[in-house]
């Protein structure tokens, strides 16, 4: 026997709707970690340390185009998800041993966005060359 929706039902529906909206906003629309400029040490390549722990931080890195960028991936976990970092545009795939720092040097040829991901494309980061 059906009864009409009452207050608690509407409350549950409203709470569920809000939660769904928030989840989708948080994972898809919310602003990501701030941009970090790579320091161009005199003579040496631009350099930045990227912590790898459930994601890349920073995940968006501003760099100078046409100059080598040395990214130091500091993998702080053993989760196999992040065991590789892939720079598709540079055809580069590097194994990152756990709890170690691995250097990857790339040179963005021209201004643009160069994405890097984990081996399974779940974790994402990008270089913004300008």
């Amino acid at each position: 026997m059906l009864t009409a929706l009452n207050g608690i039902d509407w409350l549950v529906i409203a709470a569920a709707g809000t939660t769904i909206l928030w989840v989708n906003w948080y994972f898809f629309a919310a602003e990501r970690a701030p941009v970090t400029a790579a320091a161009g040490a005199a003579g040496g390549p631009q350099e930045v340390t990227v912590a790898v722990h459930g994601g890349y931080s920073p995940s968006t890195i501003r760099v100078k185009a046409g100059a080598p960028v040395r990214l130091l991936f500091d993998r702080q976990e053993t989760s196999s998800c992040s065991e590789e970092v892939v720079f598709g545009d540079f055809g580069l795939r590097t194994f990152l041993p756990a709890h170690q720092t691995t250097a990857v040097t790339v040179t963005p040829p021209k201004p643009g966005v160069y994405e890097f991901t984990c081996g399974m494309s779940m974790l994402r980061g990008k270089l913004i060359a300008e």
């Binding site: 990501r32 350099e47 912590a51 130091l72 702080q76 720092t101 691995t102 494309s121």
Partner: protein, 804 residues
């Protein structure tokens, strides 16, 4: 967040040129951490200048190399409680493989230990909660919420009651709190990484499998704790304070078990690569100052003389300088018969010397060695992505948030449905909760992520075993779609090395054919024409005296003339004979017949009179005909391209069983021919030697380079064959097709699993069949789904070469 660099230059005068090093420092979260590392470094003797950057997470240190080493600096930083490690650079292919293997093995061991421990804890939890069953208010079953668990435990109760009666004497609150503690222990130890990784991902606005497990089990646990701490709240609302403790533990145990199997299966996908990396011997017997010395292979230098005895592995690449042997190269080329090696031949590091002892000179070493290049190529290939994966990638990227949304919606729908059909608020909440947790637990993004990469891993390893190096997932996918195979004639269908096939002398000649050959070969020693080499080789192989001619003149497109041992010689085609007014009538028909057979006939005139005719041809490889038959059976069109004339081309095609021939094609014309075939909508594979055919290989959808076993790094090629044998082309195409089928099966299974499993877990079938999934069964299904994908990929290991 601060970006300030705190810099404290030391007042003392720095040494002339301090060394500089950048050490990544991990674990610093605030300016205080930064200050601590900074102070420690600045106080360290030998440090000239130190600057710690919190944002960058590193320390830039200028130091006096005579006073302190980078390793000591790292020790100093670690002593402050933060992590520091020098960046690893330029790992060799072998080192990287070893590091990966160690990581996977470690992962497997850890998962296995945790799975066992949580499984045992699960049994303990079941025992603890059995006496609690049936103690609650009438109409409720007891404190076990998961329907599957309740069924299982109810059926075991009579046995347990008679076996362990004392268990039933323990007061209920003690049991409840005991359960809570066991569960907390399992979550904090065995399941810890689910929560820490989920949290880490959450902070990066991303979500993965860990998120689903963490939210699912976390919600079940919190619910159970409330039921334990404040059972009155539940009872007031007309619901038994059931708990999910055993369910949480068993879900964690099942998922860990699944992950452990997955880790082991993933390890097996790279067996072939590991086997290749292990081919590299550790030591080499080097001759230095005429004494034999066993040295590590890393210290072998180019031009070192190395001694190899029968049964030993060849340590590094090189060129044979003395001795003769048969070498087993099957591990690299797939060629099952040992290859004879004589002075001047190349030997490859990692192959096994079978019979004789020999000495050789080391050539390519380390990263440039054939074996290291194969390992690197394979590793790159195994890590590369196939385009078919893009869809899976797009779904993976949105998968978890979508599943969480579905779980929340499931809760709302169930709540409202139960409540409006007469259920109390409490009952509605309980049923809704179980369904939502089941959705979170059953959803599995891992199977999708593993579907394509595991197939690429296994198949590229299999290819390497067969001497077929497929450079990556994209090449695999395109090779599976090939409709037309274009074969270059010379060096592909044929040996690529002309040989003398016929020698005829004029009837009644006073000259023996051997004598004529010796004269011709002597003349041809001066010629640079490829056919000349065949003549000289032929004569030398027969032990005929080959001298240097007294005079020599080359006639482009016609032949050569000169003087050997005082006799005037002309060797060439009809045109050359006409120029010298030599009557070729006696041998004209023989010459034409040889031409029809695809051979190059050369007339020989001695002192102005016709002496004989010599034919040279590029013989067909022994395996070509069978391989071409197999290509045709695979439903492929086979086209042969050649720069030779139509007559020669037709003769070779006839012998090889090819019906479509394009002859007289200039090198640039090969590219045009491939473009023409592609314009017809065909997917074209070009098979060539990788050097002369590079543009055509690059133009084709798939370029297949027939290697001599040493030049595998052909840039233009998508597939490199270690063996000079068309059978490799057949294997490459068959393996690619088979791999594509596996990938599609995997993707289908991974999608179908979620598409079917999630609605069932959400209770979509409940109104029709009354079917509801318990979270425990959901976790078992999830664990199975990713393991099954990896197992399906591993079936590719059973692929067999068509011809071996």
């Amino acid at each position: 967040m601060t970006t300030a660099n705190i810099t404290h230059p030391r007042p003392a005068a720095p040494p002339a040129s301090p060394e500089k090093v950048v050490i990544p420092v991990s674990g610093m979260t605030c300016a205080a951490c930064q200050g601590r590392v900074q102070r420690t470094l600045s106080k360290t003797p030998g440090v000239v200048d130190a600057s710690v950057n919190l944002m960058m997470g590193n320390a830039t240190i200028a130091y006096d190399a005579s006073a302190i080493t980078p390793d000591a600096l790292i020790e100093r930083i670690r002593a402050t409680g933060y992590g520091a490690e020098l960046p690893q650079e330029n790992q060799t292919a072998f080192e990287e493989q070893a590091a990966r293997d160690a990581a996977t093995a470690e992962e497997f061991r850890e998962l296995r230990a945790k799975a066992w421990a949580s499984g045992i804890a699960g049994v303990l939890a079941m025992l603890l909660s059995m006496p609690l069953m049936g103690t609650m208010t009438a109409g409720h079953h007891g404190p076990v919420a998961d329907p599957f668990m309740r069924w299982a435990m109810e059926s075991m109760t009579p046995t347990l009651r008679s076996a362990l009666p004392w268990l039933y004497e323990i007061p209920a609150p003690v049991l409840s709190w005991g359960l809570l503690l066991v569960t907390l222990g399992v979550m904090a130890w065995a399941g810890r990484h689910f929560y820490t990784r989920a949290w880490a991902a959450f902070r990066h606005h991303s979500a993965d499998m860990n998120t689903l497990v963490a939210v699912g089990t976390g919600a079940a646990f919190v619910y159970s704790v409330v039921a334990t701490v404040a059972p009155g709240f539940f009872v007031q609302n007309g619901v038994a304070p059931d708990v999910y403790y055993e369910a949480v533990i068993i879900i964690i145990a099942l998922i860990l078990t699944g992950n452990a199997f997955e880790a082991r299966a993933k390890r097996e996908t790279s067996t072939a690569l590991r086997a290749l990396a292990n081919l590299q011997p550790k030591t080499a017997r080097v001759l230095r100052d005429e004494t034999e010395e066993d040295v590590p292979v890393e210290s072998v230098r180019a031009d070192d003389m190395i001694l190899v005895r029968p049964g030993e592995r060849v340590p590094v690449d090189g060129e044979l300088t003395s001795g003769e042997s048969a070498v087993d190269e099957s591990m690299l080329t797939g060629e099952s018969l040992p290859v004879t090696k004589r002075v001047g031949d190349r030997v490859i590091g990692g192959t096994i010397n079978r019979v004789g002892a020999f000495r050789y000179r080391a050539t390519t070493l380390g990263e440039t060695s054939v074996l290291a290049q194969i390992v690197k190529l394979m590793r790159d290939a195994q890590g590369s992505r196939a385009p078919i994966q893009r869809l899976a990638d797009r779904i993976s990227a949105i998968f978890v948030p979508v599943v969480v949304s579905i779980a929340v919606a499931t809760f709302a729908v169930w709540f409202v449905a139960v409540h409006t059909t007469g259920g109390g608020v409490g009952e509605a909440a309980v049923r809704a909760f179980a369904a939502a947790v089941a959705v979170l637990i059953i959803a599995c993004p891992c199977a999708m992520g593993l579907a394509v990469p595991t197939a690429v891993m296994v198949s590229s390893g299999k290819g390497a075993e067969l001497g077929v190096l497929i450079k990556g997932g994209e090449a695999l996918q395109r090779a599976g779609d090939i409709t037309t195979v274009v074969l270059d004639k010379t060096g592909t269908v044929t040996e690529g090395r002309p040989a003398v096939t016929d020698v005829e002398v004029v009837y009644n000649s006073t000259l023996a054919s051997e004598e004529m050959l010796a004269l011709v070969a002597s003349l041809e020693t001066m010629s640079e024409h490829p056919l000349a080499d065949a003549l000289v080789r032929h004569a030398r192989d027969r032990g005929l005296p080959v001298d240097t001619p007294e005079a020599f003149e080359s006639h482009t497109g016609r032949g050569a003339t000169g003087v050997v041992r005082g006799r005037a010689l002309a060797v060439g085609n009809e045109a050359l004979m006409q120029d010298y007014a030599v009557d070729i009538a006696p041998l004209r028909s023989a010459g034409h017949r040889l031409g029809d057979e695809g051979k190059t006939a050369m007339y020989v005139a001695i002192d102005g009179a016709l002496a004989g005719v010599v034919a040279v041809a590029d013989p067909i490889r022994g395996t070509s005909r069978a391989a071409i038959q197999q290509l045709l059976r695979l439903g492929l069109d086979v086209v042969m391209l050649t720069g030779d004339n139509k007559r020669t081309a037709d003769a070779v095609a006839r012998e090889a069983g090819i019906t479509r021939v394009v002859a007289g094609v200039l090198p640039a014309g090969k590219v045009a021919e491939i473009e023409r075939l592609q314009a017809d909508g065909r997917v074209v594979a070009m098979v060539g030697d990788g050097v002369n055919d590079a543009p055509a290989l690059a133009k084709a959808d798939i370029g297949i380079a027939m290697g001599s076993g040493t030049d595998i790094a052909v840039e233009a090629a998508d597939v490199a064959l270690m063996r000079g044998d068309l059978a490799g082309v057949v294997d490459a195409i068959r393996l690619s097709r088979r791999t594509m089928r596996t990938m599609k099966q995997n993707l289908f299974w991974a999608f179908a699993y979620n598409v079917v499993g999630i609605p069932i877990a959400a209770g979509l079938l409940f109104p029709i069949t009354g079917l509801l999934l318990s979270p425990i069964l959901a976790s078992a299904a999830m664990a199975f789904s990713s393991v099954s994908v990896v197992m399906n990929s591993l079936r590719l290991r059973r692929f067999r070469a068509a011809t071996s």
